[in-house]
Protein backbone atom coordinates (compact mmCIF):
# COMPACT_ATOMS: atom_id res chain seq x y z
CA UNK A 1 0.00 0.00 0.00
CA UNK A 2 1.25 3.43 -0.84
CA UNK A 3 -0.72 6.62 -0.49
CA UNK A 4 0.66 9.81 -1.95
CA UNK A 5 -0.72 13.32 -1.83
CA UNK A 6 1.04 15.58 -4.33
CA UNK A 7 0.73 19.34 -4.53
CA UNK A 8 -2.86 19.34 -3.33
CA UNK A 9 -4.64 22.65 -2.91
CA UNK A 10 -8.25 23.18 -2.05
CA UNK A 11 -10.45 26.26 -2.20
CA UNK A 12 -14.05 26.47 -1.16
CA UNK A 13 -16.54 28.82 -2.76
CA UNK A 14 -16.49 30.47 -6.16
CA UNK A 15 -15.26 33.74 -7.61
CA UNK A 16 -14.70 36.52 -5.11
CA UNK A 17 -15.93 34.45 -2.14
CA UNK A 18 -13.41 31.75 -2.92
CA UNK A 19 -11.27 30.83 0.06
CA UNK A 20 -8.00 28.95 -0.16
CA UNK A 21 -8.10 26.37 2.63
CA UNK A 22 -5.20 24.12 1.67
CA UNK A 23 -2.07 25.17 -0.16
CA UNK A 24 0.30 22.67 -1.76
CA UNK A 25 0.00 19.71 0.59
CA UNK A 26 2.46 16.84 0.08
CA UNK A 27 2.24 13.61 2.08
CA UNK A 28 3.27 9.99 1.75
CA UNK A 29 2.10 7.02 3.75
CA UNK A 30 3.48 3.53 3.31
CA UNK A 31 2.14 0.20 4.42
CA UNK A 32 2.27 -0.27 8.16
CA UNK A 33 3.08 3.34 8.99
CA UNK A 34 1.39 5.46 11.60
CA UNK A 35 1.43 9.09 10.50
CA UNK A 36 -0.06 12.07 12.33
CA UNK A 37 -1.18 15.47 11.17
CA UNK A 38 -1.23 18.17 13.84
CA UNK A 39 -2.56 21.69 13.55
CA UNK A 40 -4.72 24.20 15.33
CA UNK A 41 -8.45 24.38 14.78
CA UNK A 42 -9.34 25.54 11.27
CA UNK A 43 -5.95 24.72 9.76
CA UNK A 44 -7.59 22.36 7.29
CA UNK A 45 -6.78 18.98 8.85
CA UNK A 46 -10.22 17.52 8.26
CA UNK A 47 -10.17 18.80 4.72
CA UNK A 48 -6.94 16.89 4.02
CA UNK A 49 -8.57 13.77 5.37
CA UNK A 50 -11.76 14.25 3.41
CA UNK A 51 -9.74 14.72 0.23
CA UNK A 52 -7.86 11.48 0.86
CA UNK A 53 -11.13 9.70 1.65
CA UNK A 54 -12.50 11.00 -1.64
CA UNK A 55 -15.33 12.88 0.03
CA UNK A 56 -14.04 16.12 -1.53
CA UNK A 57 -12.15 16.77 -4.75
CA UNK A 58 -8.86 18.73 -4.74
CA UNK A 59 -8.84 22.07 -6.60
CA UNK A 60 -5.41 21.16 -7.89
CA UNK A 61 -2.86 18.41 -7.31
CA UNK A 62 -3.38 14.67 -7.16
CA UNK A 63 -3.96 11.92 -4.64
CA UNK A 64 -2.88 8.41 -5.56
CA UNK A 65 -3.59 5.17 -3.81
CA UNK A 66 -1.25 2.48 -5.13
CA UNK A 67 -0.82 4.37 -8.40
CA UNK A 68 -4.55 4.74 -8.86
CA UNK A 69 -5.93 8.26 -8.85
CA UNK A 70 -8.42 8.85 -6.04
CA UNK A 71 -11.69 10.05 -7.56
CA UNK A 72 -14.17 9.23 -4.85
CA UNK A 73 -14.71 7.34 -1.62
CA UNK A 74 -13.92 3.64 -1.51
CA UNK A 75 -13.55 0.82 0.99
CA UNK A 76 -9.74 0.87 0.68
CA UNK A 77 -9.72 4.08 2.75
CA UNK A 78 -11.66 3.66 5.98
CA UNK A 79 -12.55 6.61 8.14
CA UNK A 80 -13.34 7.26 11.79
CA UNK A 81 -15.04 10.57 12.47
CA UNK A 82 -14.65 12.86 15.42
CA UNK A 83 -18.37 12.98 16.03
CA UNK A 84 -20.01 9.74 16.98
CA UNK A 85 -21.08 8.29 13.70
CA UNK A 86 -22.57 4.95 14.70
CA UNK A 87 -25.94 3.99 13.26
CA UNK A 88 -28.28 4.53 16.20
CA UNK A 89 -30.78 1.90 15.03
CA UNK A 90 -28.16 -0.87 14.94
CA UNK A 91 -26.59 -2.78 17.82
CA UNK A 92 -22.83 -2.58 18.33
CA UNK A 93 -22.42 -5.89 16.49
CA UNK A 94 -24.60 -4.80 13.58
CA UNK A 95 -22.66 -1.55 13.38
CA UNK A 96 -19.41 -3.50 13.12
CA UNK A 97 -20.97 -5.76 10.50
CA UNK A 98 -22.37 -2.84 8.52
CA UNK A 99 -19.51 -2.31 6.09
CA UNK A 100 -19.03 -6.01 5.50
CA UNK A 101 -22.70 -6.37 4.64
CA UNK A 102 -22.50 -3.42 2.24
CA UNK A 103 -19.67 -5.24 0.53
CA UNK A 104 -21.72 -8.40 0.27
CA UNK A 105 -19.48 -10.68 2.30
CA UNK A 106 -20.97 -14.05 3.12
CA UNK A 107 -22.85 -14.53 6.38
CA UNK A 108 -20.36 -16.77 8.14
CA UNK A 109 -17.52 -14.44 7.34
CA UNK A 110 -19.46 -11.45 8.64
CA UNK A 111 -20.32 -13.22 11.86
CA UNK A 112 -16.77 -14.35 12.54
CA UNK A 113 -15.17 -11.04 11.73
CA UNK A 114 -17.75 -9.12 13.76
CA UNK A 115 -17.00 -11.24 16.80
CA UNK A 116 -13.27 -10.91 16.18
CA UNK A 117 -13.24 -7.11 15.86
CA UNK A 118 -15.56 -6.60 18.81
CA UNK A 119 -13.07 -8.61 20.81
CA UNK A 120 -10.17 -6.59 19.43
CA UNK A 121 -11.74 -3.43 20.84
CA UNK A 122 -12.73 -5.24 24.03
CA UNK A 123 -16.47 -4.95 23.57
CA UNK A 124 -17.52 -8.56 23.05
CA UNK A 125 -19.86 -8.24 26.05
CA UNK A 126 -21.62 -5.22 24.57
CA UNK A 127 -22.38 -6.76 21.17
CA UNK A 128 -26.14 -6.42 21.49
CA UNK A 129 -26.17 -2.97 23.04
CA UNK A 130 -27.31 0.06 21.08
CA UNK A 131 -25.09 3.13 20.62
CA UNK A 132 -27.04 5.24 23.08
CA UNK A 133 -26.42 2.58 25.72
CA UNK A 134 -22.66 2.91 25.25
CA UNK A 135 -20.31 5.53 26.70
CA UNK A 136 -18.47 7.92 24.38
CA UNK A 137 -15.26 5.91 24.57
CA UNK A 138 -17.07 2.66 23.85
CA UNK A 139 -18.84 4.24 20.88
CA UNK A 140 -15.55 5.35 19.37
CA UNK A 141 -14.13 1.86 19.88
CA UNK A 142 -17.11 0.42 18.00
CA UNK A 143 -16.52 3.01 15.25
CA UNK A 144 -12.88 1.91 15.03
CA UNK A 145 -13.91 -1.75 14.94
CA UNK A 146 -16.44 -0.96 12.23
CA UNK A 147 -13.84 0.80 10.09
CA UNK A 148 -11.31 -2.02 10.54
CA UNK A 149 -13.83 -4.78 9.86
CA UNK A 150 -14.53 -3.26 6.44
CA UNK A 151 -10.91 -4.19 5.67
CA UNK A 152 -9.40 -0.87 4.53
CA UNK A 153 -5.80 -0.53 3.40
CA UNK A 154 -5.44 2.65 5.42
CA UNK A 155 -7.55 4.03 8.27
CA UNK A 156 -8.10 7.76 8.48
CA UNK A 157 -8.78 8.88 12.03
CA UNK A 158 -10.14 12.44 12.34
CA UNK A 159 -9.67 13.46 15.98
CA UNK A 160 -11.23 10.20 17.08
CA UNK A 161 -10.80 11.00 20.78
CA UNK A 162 -11.49 14.73 20.62
CA UNK A 163 -14.84 14.43 22.34
CA UNK A 164 -13.60 12.24 25.19
CA UNK A 165 -12.45 13.37 28.60
CA UNK A 166 -8.80 13.24 29.51
CA UNK A 167 -8.54 9.90 31.35
CA UNK A 168 -10.52 8.03 28.75
CA UNK A 169 -8.54 9.70 26.04
CA UNK A 170 -5.28 8.45 27.50
CA UNK A 171 -6.51 4.89 27.72
CA UNK A 172 -7.89 5.12 24.17
CA UNK A 173 -4.51 6.35 22.94
CA UNK A 174 -2.84 3.34 24.50
CA UNK A 175 -5.49 1.09 23.05
CA UNK A 176 -5.05 2.50 19.55
CA UNK A 177 -1.29 2.29 19.71
CA UNK A 178 -1.36 -1.34 20.80
CA UNK A 179 -3.89 -2.11 18.13
CA UNK A 180 -1.60 -0.64 15.51
CA UNK A 181 1.38 -2.55 16.89
CA UNK A 182 -0.46 -5.87 16.90
CA UNK A 183 -2.37 -5.64 13.65
CA UNK A 184 0.07 -4.05 11.23
CA UNK A 185 -2.52 -1.45 10.36
CA UNK A 186 -1.71 1.65 8.36
CA UNK A 187 -3.07 4.80 9.92
CA UNK A 188 -3.30 8.54 9.42
CA UNK A 189 -4.28 10.30 12.61
CA UNK A 190 -5.47 13.87 12.77
CA UNK A 191 -5.33 15.69 16.04
CA UNK A 192 -4.73 19.10 17.55
CA UNK A 193 -3.08 17.40 20.52
CA UNK A 194 0.69 17.20 20.04
CA UNK A 195 1.18 14.71 22.82
CA UNK A 196 -1.31 12.37 21.20
CA UNK A 197 0.49 12.60 17.87
CA UNK A 198 3.96 12.10 19.29
CA UNK A 199 2.90 9.17 21.44
CA UNK A 200 1.68 7.13 18.54
CA UNK A 201 3.00 8.31 15.21
CA UNK A 202 6.37 7.62 13.63
CA UNK A 203 6.06 10.73 11.54
CA UNK A 204 4.31 13.94 12.53
CA UNK A 205 3.36 16.71 10.12
CA UNK A 206 2.70 20.14 11.59
CA UNK A 207 0.14 22.24 9.78
CA UNK A 208 -0.12 26.01 9.75
CA UNK A 209 -3.46 27.73 9.21
CA UNK A 210 -4.75 30.29 6.67
CA UNK A 211 -4.08 28.74 4.24
CA UNK A 212 -3.49 25.25 5.57
CA UNK A 213 -0.02 23.97 4.75
CA UNK A 214 2.54 21.57 6.16
CA UNK A 215 5.35 23.59 7.72
CA UNK A 216 7.33 20.93 9.48
CA UNK A 217 7.71 17.20 9.45
CA UNK A 218 9.42 15.32 12.24
CA UNK A 219 10.32 11.69 12.58
CA UNK A 220 9.40 10.60 16.09
CA UNK A 221 11.42 7.47 16.62
CA UNK A 222 10.78 7.02 20.30
CA UNK A 223 10.89 3.97 22.47
CA UNK A 224 7.22 3.21 22.95
CA UNK A 225 7.53 0.23 25.27
CA UNK A 226 5.59 2.06 27.97
CA UNK A 227 3.39 4.89 26.80
CA UNK A 228 2.47 6.31 30.19
CA UNK A 229 6.16 6.47 31.12
CA UNK A 230 6.95 8.01 27.74
CA UNK A 231 4.56 10.86 28.48
CA UNK A 232 6.92 11.91 31.29
CA UNK A 233 10.25 11.26 29.62
CA UNK A 234 12.61 14.18 29.07
CA UNK A 235 13.38 13.62 25.40
CA UNK A 236 9.65 13.30 24.74
CA UNK A 237 8.82 16.47 26.65
CA UNK A 238 11.58 18.40 24.91
CA UNK A 239 10.40 17.35 21.47
CA UNK A 240 6.86 18.19 22.45
CA UNK A 241 7.85 21.61 23.78
CA UNK A 242 9.86 22.35 20.65
CA UNK A 243 6.92 21.55 18.40
CA UNK A 244 4.49 23.34 20.66
CA UNK A 245 6.58 26.47 20.28
CA UNK A 246 6.46 26.03 16.54
CA UNK A 247 2.67 25.68 16.65
CA UNK A 248 2.30 28.75 18.86
CA UNK A 249 4.48 30.73 16.49
CA UNK A 250 2.08 29.87 13.70
CA UNK A 251 -0.92 31.03 15.59
CA UNK A 252 -1.93 34.21 13.82
CA UNK A 253 -4.82 34.77 16.15
CA UNK A 254 -4.88 38.56 16.86
CA UNK A 255 -5.63 38.04 20.54
CA UNK A 256 -2.66 35.73 20.90
CA UNK A 257 -0.40 38.16 19.04
CA UNK A 258 -1.49 40.99 21.31
CA UNK A 259 -0.91 38.86 24.40
CA UNK A 260 2.54 37.91 23.18
CA UNK A 261 3.61 41.47 22.44
CA UNK A 262 2.32 42.50 25.84
CA UNK A 263 4.35 39.72 27.44
CA UNK A 264 7.51 40.80 25.61
CA UNK A 265 7.15 44.46 26.58
CA UNK A 266 6.83 43.53 30.26
CA UNK A 267 9.97 41.49 29.90
CA UNK A 268 8.30 38.22 30.80
CA UNK A 269 9.76 35.26 29.00
CA UNK A 270 7.81 32.47 30.61
CA UNK A 271 5.29 30.68 28.46
CA UNK A 272 4.56 33.20 25.74
Amino acid sequence: MHLSVKGVSKSFGKGRDSKLVLDDINLEINSGEFVALVGSSGSGKSTVMRLIAGLEQPSSGTIHMDDRLVRGPGPDRGMVFQKYSLYPWLSAADNVAFGMRLQGRNKRDVKERTAYFLEVVGLQDSASRFPRQLSGGMQQRVAIARALAADPKVVLLDEPFGALDLQIRESMQEFLYQLWERSGLTALLITHDLEEALLMAQRVHIMAPRPGRVVRTVAANLDRGNLSALRMERSFLELREDLAGCLRGLDQDPAALAARSLASTTGSSSSG
Binding site: A53, P73, W89, L102, A143, R146, A147, A150
Partner: protein, 254 residues
Protein backbone atom coordinates in the same frame (compact mmCIF):
# COMPACT_ATOMS: atom_id res chain seq x y z
CA UNK B 1 -46.92 10.52 47.16
CA UNK B 2 -47.79 14.10 46.28
CA UNK B 3 -50.96 14.92 44.41
CA UNK B 4 -48.96 16.11 41.45
CA UNK B 5 -47.11 12.84 41.21
CA UNK B 6 -50.32 10.87 41.62
CA UNK B 7 -51.97 12.79 38.79
CA UNK B 8 -48.99 12.29 36.52
CA UNK B 9 -50.25 9.16 34.74
CA UNK B 10 -50.41 9.03 30.96
CA UNK B 11 -54.15 8.48 30.71
CA UNK B 12 -55.61 9.88 33.85
CA UNK B 13 -55.79 13.61 33.17
CA UNK B 14 -56.91 13.11 29.59
CA UNK B 15 -59.77 10.99 30.81
CA UNK B 16 -60.65 13.62 33.41
CA UNK B 17 -60.79 16.24 30.65
CA UNK B 18 -63.16 14.17 28.50
CA UNK B 19 -65.40 13.27 31.44
CA UNK B 20 -65.60 16.90 32.54
CA UNK B 21 -66.80 17.94 29.10
CA UNK B 22 -69.41 15.15 29.08
CA UNK B 23 -70.62 16.19 32.51
CA UNK B 24 -70.85 19.85 31.48
CA UNK B 25 -72.79 18.83 28.41
CA UNK B 26 -75.19 16.74 30.49
CA UNK B 27 -75.74 19.60 32.93
CA UNK B 28 -76.39 22.19 30.23
CA UNK B 29 -78.73 19.81 28.40
CA UNK B 30 -80.73 18.88 31.46
CA UNK B 31 -81.12 22.50 32.57
CA UNK B 32 -82.91 23.04 29.26
CA UNK B 33 -81.27 26.44 28.81
CA UNK B 34 -80.66 25.51 25.17
CA UNK B 35 -83.45 24.20 22.97
CA UNK B 36 -83.02 20.35 22.85
CA UNK B 37 -83.44 20.64 19.13
CA UNK B 38 -80.05 22.37 19.07
CA UNK B 39 -78.36 20.57 21.89
CA UNK B 40 -79.49 16.97 22.49
CA UNK B 41 -78.43 15.37 25.76
CA UNK B 42 -75.66 12.77 25.83
CA UNK B 43 -78.27 10.08 26.41
CA UNK B 44 -80.20 11.12 23.32
CA UNK B 45 -77.05 11.08 21.23
CA UNK B 46 -76.18 7.66 22.60
CA UNK B 47 -79.70 6.51 21.69
CA UNK B 48 -79.41 7.87 18.15
CA UNK B 49 -76.02 6.17 17.86
CA UNK B 50 -77.41 2.83 19.06
CA UNK B 51 -80.28 3.14 16.61
CA UNK B 52 -77.92 3.83 13.70
CA UNK B 53 -75.76 0.97 14.78
CA UNK B 54 -78.67 -1.45 14.87
CA UNK B 55 -79.86 -0.37 11.44
CA UNK B 56 -76.34 -1.00 10.22
CA UNK B 57 -75.92 2.52 8.82
CA UNK B 58 -73.27 3.55 11.32
CA UNK B 59 -70.90 0.71 10.48
CA UNK B 60 -71.70 1.05 6.80
CA UNK B 61 -70.96 4.77 6.78
CA UNK B 62 -67.80 4.35 8.83
CA UNK B 63 -66.53 1.64 6.48
CA UNK B 64 -67.29 3.78 3.43
CA UNK B 65 -65.36 6.74 4.85
CA UNK B 66 -62.48 4.60 6.12
CA UNK B 67 -62.21 2.86 2.75
CA UNK B 68 -61.84 6.16 0.92
CA UNK B 69 -59.29 7.45 3.39
CA UNK B 70 -57.24 4.27 3.22
CA UNK B 71 -57.35 4.27 -0.58
CA UNK B 72 -56.31 7.88 -1.04
CA UNK B 73 -53.85 7.87 1.82
CA UNK B 74 -52.18 4.63 0.76
CA UNK B 75 -51.61 6.21 -2.62
CA UNK B 76 -50.20 9.30 -0.95
CA UNK B 77 -47.86 7.19 1.22
CA UNK B 78 -46.61 5.19 -1.73
CA UNK B 79 -45.93 8.24 -3.92
CA UNK B 80 -44.59 10.62 -1.27
CA UNK B 81 -41.90 8.27 0.04
CA UNK B 82 -39.75 7.94 -3.10
CA UNK B 83 -40.56 11.53 -4.11
CA UNK B 84 -39.57 12.95 -0.71
CA UNK B 85 -36.40 10.87 -0.59
CA UNK B 86 -35.44 11.91 -4.12
CA UNK B 87 -36.02 15.58 -3.29
CA UNK B 88 -34.13 15.32 -0.02
CA UNK B 89 -31.10 13.57 -1.42
CA UNK B 90 -30.75 15.17 -4.86
CA UNK B 91 -30.30 18.91 -5.13
CA UNK B 92 -31.45 19.09 -8.76
CA UNK B 93 -34.69 17.19 -8.12
CA UNK B 94 -35.29 19.45 -5.15
CA UNK B 95 -34.70 22.64 -7.16
CA UNK B 96 -37.03 21.34 -9.84
CA UNK B 97 -39.93 20.36 -7.60
CA UNK B 98 -39.79 22.37 -4.40
CA UNK B 99 -41.22 25.65 -5.77
CA UNK B 100 -43.96 23.70 -7.54
CA UNK B 101 -44.96 21.76 -4.42
CA UNK B 102 -44.69 24.89 -2.34
CA UNK B 103 -47.20 26.57 -4.64
CA UNK B 104 -49.68 23.72 -4.88
CA UNK B 105 -49.50 23.17 -1.15
CA UNK B 106 -51.15 26.55 -0.59
CA UNK B 107 -54.12 25.72 -2.80
CA UNK B 108 -56.81 24.46 -0.43
CA UNK B 109 -57.56 20.85 -1.31
CA UNK B 110 -61.37 21.23 -0.99
CA UNK B 111 -61.20 23.79 -3.78
CA UNK B 112 -60.25 20.92 -6.08
CA UNK B 113 -63.58 19.17 -5.48
CA UNK B 114 -65.51 20.91 -8.29
CA UNK B 115 -62.75 20.12 -10.75
CA UNK B 116 -62.53 16.51 -9.64
CA UNK B 117 -66.29 16.11 -9.99
CA UNK B 118 -66.20 17.52 -13.51
CA UNK B 119 -63.34 15.19 -14.44
CA UNK B 120 -64.35 12.02 -12.67
CA UNK B 121 -68.03 12.31 -11.81
CA UNK B 122 -69.56 11.47 -8.45
CA UNK B 123 -68.07 8.03 -7.83
CA UNK B 124 -65.27 6.94 -5.51
CA UNK B 125 -62.37 8.07 -7.67
CA UNK B 126 -62.69 11.84 -7.11
CA UNK B 127 -62.87 11.34 -3.33
CA UNK B 128 -59.84 9.09 -3.27
CA UNK B 129 -57.97 11.55 -5.48
CA UNK B 130 -58.92 14.46 -3.26
CA UNK B 131 -57.36 12.74 -0.26
CA UNK B 132 -54.33 11.90 -2.36
CA UNK B 133 -53.87 15.50 -3.56
CA UNK B 134 -54.62 16.97 -0.18
CA UNK B 135 -51.97 14.97 1.67
CA UNK B 136 -49.31 14.22 -0.95
CA UNK B 137 -47.54 17.56 -0.72
CA UNK B 138 -47.38 17.70 3.04
CA UNK B 139 -46.10 14.14 3.25
CA UNK B 140 -43.52 14.72 0.54
CA UNK B 141 -42.16 17.95 2.01
CA UNK B 142 -41.94 16.49 5.51
CA UNK B 143 -40.08 13.44 4.19
CA UNK B 144 -37.78 15.68 2.18
CA UNK B 145 -36.92 17.63 5.33
CA UNK B 146 -36.22 14.46 7.26
CA UNK B 147 -33.84 13.29 4.53
CA UNK B 148 -32.00 16.61 4.53
CA UNK B 149 -31.25 16.21 8.22
CA UNK B 150 -29.59 12.81 7.96
CA UNK B 151 -26.18 13.54 9.56
CA UNK B 152 -23.49 13.62 6.89
CA UNK B 153 -21.17 11.42 9.01
CA UNK B 154 -23.67 8.58 8.72
CA UNK B 155 -23.78 8.88 4.93
CA UNK B 156 -20.05 9.37 4.59
CA UNK B 157 -19.21 6.45 6.89
CA UNK B 158 -21.20 4.21 4.58
CA UNK B 159 -19.43 5.66 1.55
CA UNK B 160 -16.00 4.96 3.04
CA UNK B 161 -17.02 1.36 3.72
CA UNK B 162 -17.92 0.73 0.11
CA UNK B 163 -21.59 1.80 0.09
CA UNK B 164 -23.01 2.90 -3.25
CA UNK B 165 -26.08 4.85 -4.43
CA UNK B 166 -29.17 2.84 -3.68
CA UNK B 167 -27.50 1.03 -0.78
CA UNK B 168 -27.04 4.34 0.98
CA UNK B 169 -30.73 5.09 0.53
CA UNK B 170 -32.00 1.74 1.73
CA UNK B 171 -29.52 1.11 4.54
CA UNK B 172 -28.80 4.56 5.93
CA UNK B 173 -31.40 7.10 4.83
CA UNK B 174 -34.47 4.88 5.11
CA UNK B 175 -33.85 3.57 8.63
CA UNK B 176 -32.76 6.98 9.87
CA UNK B 177 -35.87 8.81 8.65
CA UNK B 178 -38.32 6.00 9.50
CA UNK B 179 -39.50 7.54 12.79
CA UNK B 180 -40.01 10.99 11.26
CA UNK B 181 -41.78 9.51 8.26
CA UNK B 182 -44.16 7.55 10.45
CA UNK B 183 -44.81 10.69 12.43
CA UNK B 184 -45.47 12.70 9.28
CA UNK B 185 -47.92 10.05 8.12
CA UNK B 186 -49.63 10.11 11.49
CA UNK B 187 -49.97 13.89 11.55
CA UNK B 188 -51.18 14.23 7.95
CA UNK B 189 -53.65 11.41 8.42
CA UNK B 190 -55.77 13.99 10.24
CA UNK B 191 -55.93 16.03 7.04
CA UNK B 192 -56.97 12.97 5.05
CA UNK B 193 -59.70 12.26 7.52
CA UNK B 194 -60.93 15.86 7.35
CA UNK B 195 -60.96 15.82 3.57
CA UNK B 196 -63.05 12.69 3.25
CA UNK B 197 -65.76 14.28 5.35
CA UNK B 198 -65.66 17.45 3.25
CA UNK B 199 -65.89 15.39 0.06
CA UNK B 200 -68.85 13.46 1.41
CA UNK B 201 -70.62 16.63 2.48
CA UNK B 202 -70.49 17.72 -1.14
CA UNK B 203 -71.40 14.53 -2.93
CA UNK B 204 -71.77 10.94 -1.71
CA UNK B 205 -74.31 8.19 -1.21
CA UNK B 206 -72.94 6.98 2.08
CA UNK B 207 -70.24 7.86 4.58
CA UNK B 208 -70.04 9.67 7.89
CA UNK B 209 -69.92 13.06 6.18
CA UNK B 210 -72.95 12.21 4.07
CA UNK B 211 -74.85 11.14 7.20
CA UNK B 212 -74.08 14.46 8.83
CA UNK B 213 -75.32 16.48 5.88
CA UNK B 214 -78.52 14.38 5.70
CA UNK B 215 -79.06 14.87 9.42
CA UNK B 216 -78.74 18.60 8.90
CA UNK B 217 -81.51 18.53 6.34
CA UNK B 218 -83.87 16.89 8.83
CA UNK B 219 -82.63 18.94 11.75
CA UNK B 220 -81.45 15.79 13.54
CA UNK B 221 -78.77 17.35 15.72
CA UNK B 222 -78.44 14.11 17.67
CA UNK B 223 -77.36 12.33 14.49
CA UNK B 224 -74.90 15.12 13.69
CA UNK B 225 -73.36 14.57 17.10
CA UNK B 226 -73.19 10.81 16.46
CA UNK B 227 -71.32 11.48 13.22
CA UNK B 228 -68.89 13.93 14.80
CA UNK B 229 -68.10 11.66 17.71
CA UNK B 230 -67.63 8.66 15.41
CA UNK B 231 -65.24 10.68 13.23
CA UNK B 232 -63.25 11.77 16.27
CA UNK B 233 -63.02 8.28 17.72
CA UNK B 234 -61.94 6.63 14.47
CA UNK B 235 -59.32 9.34 13.98
CA UNK B 236 -58.03 8.77 17.49
CA UNK B 237 -57.79 5.02 16.89
CA UNK B 238 -55.83 5.52 13.68
CA UNK B 239 -53.50 7.90 15.50
CA UNK B 240 -52.93 5.35 18.25
CA UNK B 241 -52.28 2.71 15.59
CA UNK B 242 -49.51 4.81 14.07
CA UNK B 243 -48.00 5.40 17.50
CA UNK B 244 -48.05 1.68 18.16
CA UNK B 245 -46.30 0.87 14.89
CA UNK B 246 -43.74 3.54 15.69
CA UNK B 247 -43.10 2.19 19.17
CA UNK B 248 -42.72 -1.33 17.80
CA UNK B 249 -40.52 -0.57 14.82
CA UNK B 250 -38.41 2.41 15.87
CA UNK B 251 -37.52 1.57 19.44
CA UNK B 252 -34.12 3.25 19.05
CA UNK B 253 -35.66 6.67 18.40
CA UNK B 254 -38.04 6.85 21.33
Amino acid sequence: MSLRRRLDQPWLLGLVGVLTLLLLWQVVASLRVVDPLFLPSPAEVLGAGAEQYQEGVLVNDALASIGRVLGGYALSIVVSLPLGIAMGSNRLVCQLLEPLLGLIRYMPAPAFIPLLIIYFGLGELPKVLLIFIGTLFFNTLMIMDAVKFVPSELLESALTMGGRGLQITTRVVAPFIAPQVLDAYRINMAAAWNLVIVAELVAANEGLGKRISLAQRFLRTDEIFVGLIAIGLIGLLIDLGFRLVMRRSCRWAI
